[in-house]
């Protein structure tokens, strides 16, 4: 599941040694943290420095994958608001942190409140767009994203939000165009930002089957921000798609040495399974399950993967449905709709499954797994026309994803 975070860049003290390349300097967020702390040493009551510190800390969370930075960011915001209650930048920074923590409902509510105060702030519209998309209201997300673009044509946050929405709608080339524009405007020192965009573009190329292009982009991303965990994860996925499963295992194991996420744990289990390390894969899945279950009710969960796990090798269809329903109660984005539909299907509730998967497909997603699920569900409801259509779409994107269904079809024809 992708996480889009608008990068907020701060003003702090001047960047000393700015002529050096990004690889010679500390990472951008780290520099800003240090600069903000320097200001606070001299001016401990400067609330704006606390705001900048908070944003830098949240940004550092994305740089490193270490989510404890969000807690530090919350503390910094608390200090800011104590010094200057209701200061706009502090409250806006809080929304940014909430988005990073995937607390979308709360982020949306606070963003709305800020928007009522100052309706022409591009970033607040961006937070609303992100939160609405994450919660599944793509119409409102689009409206907010359009406001971003209208307020300040060509701004990078708008391009990033727009790219994400275009991807959700299945407009891959449109998404790549926006990412490319954002990349063009990213200054050389913003190395993590550039790497993030390049990795996102690589993902789109991978999903479209353009593996060489994806590889080239990931090489660039690695050059921009060496050791970036998001790039490593995407590289691992690419290697799996290229059937270089051992390479994938190696990549993700290395990535997981530092702040492994639920997604990266699941990815490791998948990679091990594909590489034929059955016992190790089993252990990895169990590890994932334990961690994922501990966070079922938290905002930063990985319930989608957990549901897919339980409907597959986990063999706990009823538990899958319980978890999926709970997540569906919180959000209706395409990934949640897909997981819910699949859990319903696994529990033979085909009509309801069909209703939910149709909503997911209606958004326009270009994702092979979702389309493959749609094909299976449509077939289960007797709609062979839709089933074949979805299957064809899935195969065109990624033939491997639809293999089990294709095999089933052949078998049925044989009978």
């Amino acid at each position: 599941m992708k996480t889009i975070v608008i990068t907020l860049i701060l003003t702090t003290a001047a960047l000393a040694g700015a002529l050096e390349t990004g690889t010679n300097l500390p990472p951008p967020a780290q520099r800003r943290i240090e600069a903000a702390r320097l200001v606070l040493e001299r001016q401990p009551n400067r609330y704006q420095a606390y705001n900048e510190l908070a944003i830098a800390l949240a940004h550092r969370a994305r740089e490193t994958g270490d989510t404890s930075y969000y807690r530090q960011a919350e503390q910094a915001i608390g200090s800011s608001l104590r010094i200057q209650p209701h200061n706009f930048e502090g409250e806006q920074a809080h929304v940014f942190v909430l988005i990073g923590e995937r607390k979308y409902q709360q982020a949306l509510a606070e963003a709305h409140a800020l928007n009522r105060v100052t309706p022409d702030t591009v970033l607040v519209w961006g937070y609303m767009a992100q939160a609405e998309a994450a919660l599944g209201d793509y119409d409102k997300a689009e409206e907010a994203a359009q406001w971003m673009m209208n307020l300040r044509p060509g701004n990078v946050p708008a391009y990033l939000v727009g790219a994400s929405l275009r991807e959700d709608w299945g407009d891959i080339s449109g998404a790549l165009d926006f990412f490319n524009r954002a990349l063009q405007e990213t200054p050389p020192l913003e190395t993590e930002e550039a790497a993030w965009i390049l990795t996102a573009m690589a993902r789109l190329d991978r999903l479209s089957g353009s593996f060489d292009a994806a590889d080239a982009l990931l090489q660039r991303a690695s050059g921009e921000f060496p050791g970036y965990y998001l790039t490593a994860e995407e590289c691992a996925r690419l290697r799996m798609a290229q059937h270089r499963d051992e390479d994938s295992v190696e990549l993700i194991k290395k990535r997981n040495q530092s702040f492994p996420s639920l997604q990266s744990r699941y990815l490791l289990a998948e990679a091990l399974e594909r590489a034929g390390h059955t016992a190790e894969a089993g252990a990895a899945y169990r590890q994932f399950e334990i961690e994922a279950r501990s966070r079922i009710d938290e905002a930063d969960n990985d319930n989608r993967e957990l549901v897919l796990y339980y409907t597959g090798r986990g063999q706990r269809d009823d538990e899958a449905l319980r978890i999926a329903r709970s997540e569906f109660g919180r959000r209706h984005d395409v990934w949640t709709l897909d997981a819910y539909a699949w859990a319903l299907y696994s529990n033979r509730q085909y009509d309801e499954a069909r209703r939910q998967i149709d909503k997911a497909v209606e958004v326009g997603t270009h994702e092979a797994t979702i389309l493959s699920h749609a094909a299976s569900i449509a077939a289960a409801t007797g709609d062979t026309v839709a089933a074949n259509r979805y299957l064809k779409m899935s195969v065109e994107i990624d033939p491997e994803v639809a293999q089990p269904l294709l095999a089933e079809q052949k078998g049925n024809r044989g009978k």
Binding site: I9, A14, T121, G154, P187
Partner: protein
């Protein structure tokens, strides 16, 4: 004078940006703008855009008066703007203005940092690349500056290509880079292009006049006095108070040996903005014409302006160093000033000034090393060639000295009110004088005898 171009140019961006608040070259208009914004902010203290506009107005005031204390006021206003909004793309304007203030104060690394911060907000406005490029130019990073200026060509801009305003920013700056790289022809072509754009866009008079001045300078240094005349006159016709064009035309008149007119023009320039370099040029003219008392006044003005406040001191290191060296005054202090300048501004002209003051202090080998940096790009500037020629002469490299001095005079026989005559005298001496004995790598060959160097 030309070496000051970059930091002055940076300010042109600040003037161009807040056209919505009606800034123009008139000091009265700027004062009214400041007062209006101050009144507005009393009623709407949360208006970050107004603080930004106020900062821009103070910057403009600083340009109009040459009083660096306005930059401090600009910083205060811009800081307040950024306290209110700093992470939204809308804050890019205030951060760009902070970069301009830093440029004005010759804090080039800070300027670069602010410009990069502005860009990092991703506002979609590539104009901070202009300031980034200016800062890099002043730091002597010409290649990086060129890369920054190329970013002003935004293929995804609202007009689907290079917007005209950005084309102006690009062309006027790249023209300077071309000049320092020895390509005067393309520099002139680009400046003409920039001027055409500026006029087509009806840019503020001061911006257009500044571009005329820049064109005039390039033409003058290239020896095309007709082009220089047309450019300076055009600048004055569009902005009758353009002190830069007064000074440029004054320099031209001095080159044409029309000294009384030159004096009057420099006096007009000083009446608008009393920059030390104008006073220094006027000093030389007064001395040439025998106006001793007037020369003394200019000297006092130079000393006063150069030491008005700490910011002014930093702004005029180069001009003071040059003046002292040219007139064999406070020579040790001139070395300190030149080194201070080089610490903050590592462009070819800072190296040139250092080379010149070292030469005047009799430190020829060090002067030679510094001059290498000044000439590294192949700039065709008769002043650089003159300085280099004089250093070579002192080192005994007569042929090289001859070549440099002749080149300086060939481009413009009156390229400088003092230097041109000195160049001629030195050339005459070279023909009859004895070579000196010293080394200056890598031009020197190891001596085979007791130190007599010949090429």
């Amino acid at each position: 004078m030309f070496s000051k171009l970059t930091s002055i140019r940076a300010l042109a961006v600040a003037v161009a940006i807040p056209t919505s608040v009606g800034l123009c070259a008139s000091q009265d208009a700027t004062t009214r703008t400041i007062q209006s914004l101050q009144s507005h902010l009393k009623v709407f203290p949360g208006d970050f855009k107004a603080y930004d506009a106020l900062g821009a107005a103070y910057i403009q005031r600083g340009r109009e008066t040459a009083d660096a204390s306005y930059y401090e006021l600009a910083k205060e206003a811009l800081t307040k703007s950024l306290d209110l909004v700093s992470s939204d793309p809308a804050a890019a304007s205030a951060k760009t203005h902070m970069a301009v203030v830093s440029m004005s104060e010759h804090e080039f690394e800070d300027a670069l940092g602010w410009a990069q911060d502005a860009l990092a907000l991703g506002s979609g406005d590539p104009s901070p690349w202009a300031i980034a490029g200016d800062a890099l130019t002043d730091m002597g990073e010409y290649e990086q500056a060129a890369e920054a200026y190329e970013k002003l060509s935004n293929p995804f801009g609202p007009r689907g290509g290079r917007s005209s305003g950005l084309a102006y920013e690009h062309d006027s700056r790249v023209a300077y880079l071309r000049f320092v790289q020895g390509d005067s022809e393309n520099a002139i072509r680009l400046m003409h292009q920039a001027l055409a754009t500026a006029e087509a866009l009806h840019m503020p008079a001061e911006n257009v006049a500044w571009s005329d001045y820049q064109l005039g300078e390039i033409c003058f240094k290239s020896g095309d006095l007709g082009c220089a005349e047309r450019a300076y006159q055009a600048g004055l016709s569009i902005d009758p108070n353009s002190y830069r064009n007064f000074a440029g035309l004054g320099e031209l008149r001095a080159a044409q040996e029309r000294y009384l007119e030159a004096v009057a023009l420099y006096q007009k320039a000083i009446a608008v903005v009393p920059y030390p370099m104008f006073a220094a040029a006027l000093y030389d003219l007064d001395v040439k014409l025998g106006y001793v008392e007037d020369a003394r006044k200019q000297y006092d003005l130079i000393e006063f302006m150069g030491k008005l406040n700490p910011v002014n001191q930093r702004l005029f290191y180069r001009e003071l160093a040059l003046f002292y060296a040219d007139h064999d005054l406070k020579l040790e202090e001139s070395v300190g000033l030149a080194k201070s300048e080089l610490r903050v501004r590592r462009d070819i002209y800072s190296w040139d000034i250092l080379a010149w003051v070292l030469h005047k202090n009799g430190r020829e080998l060090e002067a030679c090393e510094a001059m290498k940096h000044a000439l590294a790009l192949g700039t065709k500037d008769p002043v650089l060639e003159f300085h280099a020629g004089m250093i070579e002469e002192r080192l005994g490299h007569v042929e090289r000295a001859r070549a440099l001095l002749e080149r300086a005079l060939a481009s413009n026989p009156h390229f400088h009110v003092l230097y041109a005559d000195q160049a001629r005298r030195t050339l005459a001496q070279i023909s009859t004088g004895e070579p000196r004995t010293a080394f200056c790598r890598p031009w020197a060959r190891p001596p085979k005898t007791g130190g007599m160097l010949q090429r």
